[in-house]
């Protein structure tokens, strides 16, 4: 399946150490994900390049970076056959550890602030009987598979700018718990996410929903939270 060796792609990588190579001419293989590109650089060009990945099947959310400015998962982004150059940078709005590796701490600090864990309602002793077509599951299910990859955080004009916004992923998580009839802390959470660093800081730039590699729509979650503030929680 390997393409003829003549085909190459020019990769420019943001590096931390001064004096290290930034541009590599990498041989194409087919199919080729952005992650394959990084592994090829590591093997054939510069073993010191810093990047991270784990599962390589879009489940761990650790290989997130920016390709030509757009936040992506390196493992699930194929390089189009006619592409001959690409630029790779670390996620925006997060401290860089080295090269393409960032520290996700600020992201998880925001996540922790919405109390991301279930506070079970009293009497939840058996798995709740909830029909898959119930209104709450209609809200929750399409927004559930967040892998905390940070793509939305990196692409949010507000979260990226100053750390005074909970950010799209944390607000999406809060929305899910508020909608969940098994959770007892909904009112408290709704207060938290509608405080001054909450939903009102969102200016609907839709950067988050545009880049989510799992196809989630955090902007819609934020809109929902604003509506619930006025109309009360769905019950």
């Amino acid at each position: 399946m390997t393409e003829p060796s003549s085909k190459k792609i020019r990769v420019t990588v943001s590096r931390s150490d001064p004096g290290t190579e930034r541009t590599f001419l990498v041989e194409r293989i087919e199919p080729m994900m952005v992650l394959d590109l990084l592994i090829a650089i590591q093997r054939e060009h510069d073993p010191s390049i810093g990047f991270r990945y784990s599962c390589r099947v879009a489940m761990c959310g650790t290989c997130t970076l920016r390709m030509d400015g757009r936040a992506i998962l390196a493992c699930q982004t194929p390089l189009e056959p006619d592409r001959d150059k690409v630029r790779l940078d670390p996620l925006a709005g997060l401290p860089v550890v080295r090269d393409l590796v960032v520290d996700m701490k600020p992201f998880f600090e925001e996540w922790a602030r919405v109390k991301p864990y279930l506070e079970p309602v009293e009497g939840l002793d058996e798995p709740a009987r909830i029909r898959p077509d119930s209104p709450e599951r209609q809200i929750i299910d399409p927004s559930l598979d967040c892998i905390t990859c940070g793509a939305c955080y990196s692409s949010c004009g507000i979260a990226d700018h100053k750390r005074d916004f909970l950010g799209p992923a944390a607000l999406n998580r809060a929305m899910l718990l508020i909608a969940d009839s098994r959770d007892a802390a909904g009112a408290e959470r709704l207060d938290a996410v509608t405080a001054s660093d909450g939903v009102d800081r969102c200016h609907y730039i839709y950067g988050c929903s545009a880049v989510c590699p799992k196809g989630l729509d955090p902007a819609a979650a934020i809109r929902r939270l604003r509506r619930w503030r006025l109309e009360g929680r769905p019950r």
Binding site: P47, Y53, R56, C60, V97, D125, C146, I147
Partner: protein
């Protein structure tokens, strides 16, 4: 689960999570697609799940561990749903829906779509924000430290981000790093799965059992040189009725298991595919085809959204056409010998999950994996909460600390040597060829020689001098652990002169219950060689059926033979 249970049982405990990757995000639980086997329906029973597990494991299982798994699985599902916040798929009646999975007499697999692992790990990760344990992410455990009496004293560690080394003293250490299935050319797991825990325990002198038992998942994606090669297409596809074809368009399972066809257990289907490929009936890229398009594109896209997306990435359409696959190394059934409380022969040392051996015997059922890691994770946490207060902090042996740190730093200090990436690649090739889906004596001996050469090369590896986030250095440390585990696997596979479950010897192609209802234990000898011993499987709850020898005969034979120790 371990941290959750330890903190629940003893909130005053000082708990530290050490992970060489991202806590709660790296590793394989996250990658679970299919689901979680648990007896929830009144029409199902523990006995039935137990029988399926033993039939799947070809009666090599430690029956007490297997029973523990089955007995605790419903409790854990219950806890995940009512305390941890997971929500699994429901049926029209609003109750948890259980689906069919290969090798099971009852539809008992609990799931959330085809991305069950994300739901379980994400919600467990959320619990850490409530419990607030000390998290050392991107910190690699190097070696277990013992005191003079041979009891647990702690760990040596290396911070991947800074390159700094440290000692962590602990009253209890729970090892749960996952197996070493990445050491094959075509492999499914996350990159962290390099047998670190098993290798650490082996170096510390613990016994490993069933190391020859490496499961190959039958439906790994083929994507050329891409890192995606080996990624699993989930078991549920076969459960839902997918067909497997060779390059001639034949449904070849007719020849291997005409009754169960594609729904036969993983070992049987993997071997069948492998034999088709080796007999020249595979595709040019060395695979076979899986086809589920007859369910209708819309149905496939709805039920297997994750798998459809995975195939689309490499330009294939699972909903509408056959997709090329190959067996892919997936899960190590073997591991450290433990009891039902995850205890080992070293006081203070607990082992849980894929690092432990015995639960699955010779082959693991789909859906019993995440059940094992959560059930035994919970048990390890419960046990740690009991054991920790009874123990004091021990002083590690300084010589052991120095040796561990020297070994870790050596590749960084060497100026010239082989590349870790090439040696890893050679290891994967050697294991695929010599200790893969089908084995024989000649191939295993060759593989062992090759592992020895590679071990020598690995000891000479030099990496770039940057201590911070140095992937080449980390891969060198991974490689050392993989080579250790590979050696124990090959040595065990050579001894088992029969075929059972995942271990298939072309030179001993029959299962031999008269002689081989015994498990193989490997441990490190004084001079570094592998010491092998054989132990009869204790049939404490159930005897093989229906065509094995009568149980009385087995028991007599076991007694007569006793423990047969073979030094290699």
């Amino acid at each position: 689960m371990c941290v959750l249970h330890a903190a629940q049982a003893a909130p005053e405990l000082d708990i530290t999570i050490v992970s060489k990757g991202a806590v709660g995000r790296s590793g394989c639980t996250r990658m679970v697609q299919g689901g979680f086997n648990a007896v929830l329906s009144p029409d199902d029973s523990f006995e039935l799940h137990f029988r399926d597990t033993l039939e799947g494991g070809k009666y090599l299982n430690d029956q007490e561990l297997a029973w523990t798994l089955i007995n605790d699985a419903p409790k854990v599902i219950h806890e995940l749903e009512t305390r941890v916040g997971c929500f699994f798929d429901r049926g029209e009646d609003g109750k948890i829906r259980q689906k069919a999975f290969a090798g099971q007499a009852f539809d008992r697999t609990v799931h959330r779509g085809d991305l069950t692992g994300i739901e379980i790990m994400s919600r467990l990760l959320d619990q850490t924000f409530r419990i607030k344990p000390r998290e050392l992410g991107d910190v690699r455990a190097l070696d277990l430290l013992l005191d003079e009496a041979g009891e647990v004293a702690g760990l040596t560690m290396l911070d991947v981000r800074t390159g700094a080394v440290a000692v962590l003293r602990a009253r209890v250490v729970v090892v749960a790093t996952g197996g070493a299935a990445t050491m094959y050319r075509i492999a499914a797991p996350a990159r962290e799965k390099t047998g670190d825990g098993v290798a650490m325990c082996y170096r510390a002198g613990l016994e490993l059992r069933d190391m020859e038992m490496m499961q190959f998942h039958p439906t790994g994606l083929l994507a050329g040189e891409s890192r995606l090669t080996g990624a699993v297409l989930e078991e549920g596809l076969r459960g839902a009725g997918a067909y497997l074809y060779n390059a001639h368009g034949e449904r070849y399972m007719e020849r291997y298991d005409p009754e169960r066809m594609e729904r036969a257990t993983r070992d049987i289907v993997s071997r069948a595919s492998y034999q088709e490929i080796m007999s020249g009936r595979g595709t040019p890229a060395g695979g076979v085809m899986i086809d589920i398009s007859h369910l209708g594109a819309e149905e496939v896209e709805r039920r297997f959204a994750g798998m459809v997306a995975r195939c689309r990435q490499i330009g294939q359409d699972l909903a509408r056409e056959p997709v090329e696959i190959s067996p892919t190394s997936h899960f190590a059934m073997g591991g450290v010998v433990i009891d039902e409380y995850c205890q080992t022969s070293v006081p203070g040392l607990l082992v849980a999950g894929e690092d432990a051996g015995g639960v699955h015997g010779a082959n693991r059922l789909g859906g019993n994996g995440v059940a094992e890691s959560t059930v035994f994770g919970a048990r390890a946490g419960d046990r740690a909460a009991i054991v920790a207060p009874e123990r004091d902090l021990r002083d590690p042996d300084p010589a052991q600390v120095a040796a561990s740190v020297d070994r870790a730093l050596a590749p960084l200090q060497r100026e010239k040597g082989p590349s870790p990436f090439q040696v890893t690649r050679d290891l994967k090739e050697a294991m695929w060829e010599g200790c893969g889906v089908v084995r024989d004596r000649e191939g295993l001996v060759r593989a062992r020689e090759r592992i020895e050469e590679l071990t020598e090369q690995a000891a000479q590896i030099a990496v770039p001098e940057t201590p911070q986030v140095n992937n080449a250095w980390q891969e060198t440390l991974d490689l050392a652990n993989q080579l250790t585990v590979a050696r124990a696997m090959i040595d065990s596979a050579l001894v088992r002169e029969e075929s059972r479950g995942a271990h298939f010897r072309s030179d001993y192609s029959e299962q031999d219950n008269a002689h081989w209802l015994r498990y193989i234990v490997a441990r490190r000898g004084e001079g570094g060689e592998t010491e092998i011993s054989l132990h009869p499987v204790e049939l404490t709850r159930k005897r093989p059926e229906p065509d094995g020898p009568p149980a009385e005969e087995l028991e007599r034979e076991d007694l007569e033979e006793g423990r047969e120790d073979v030094k290699r």
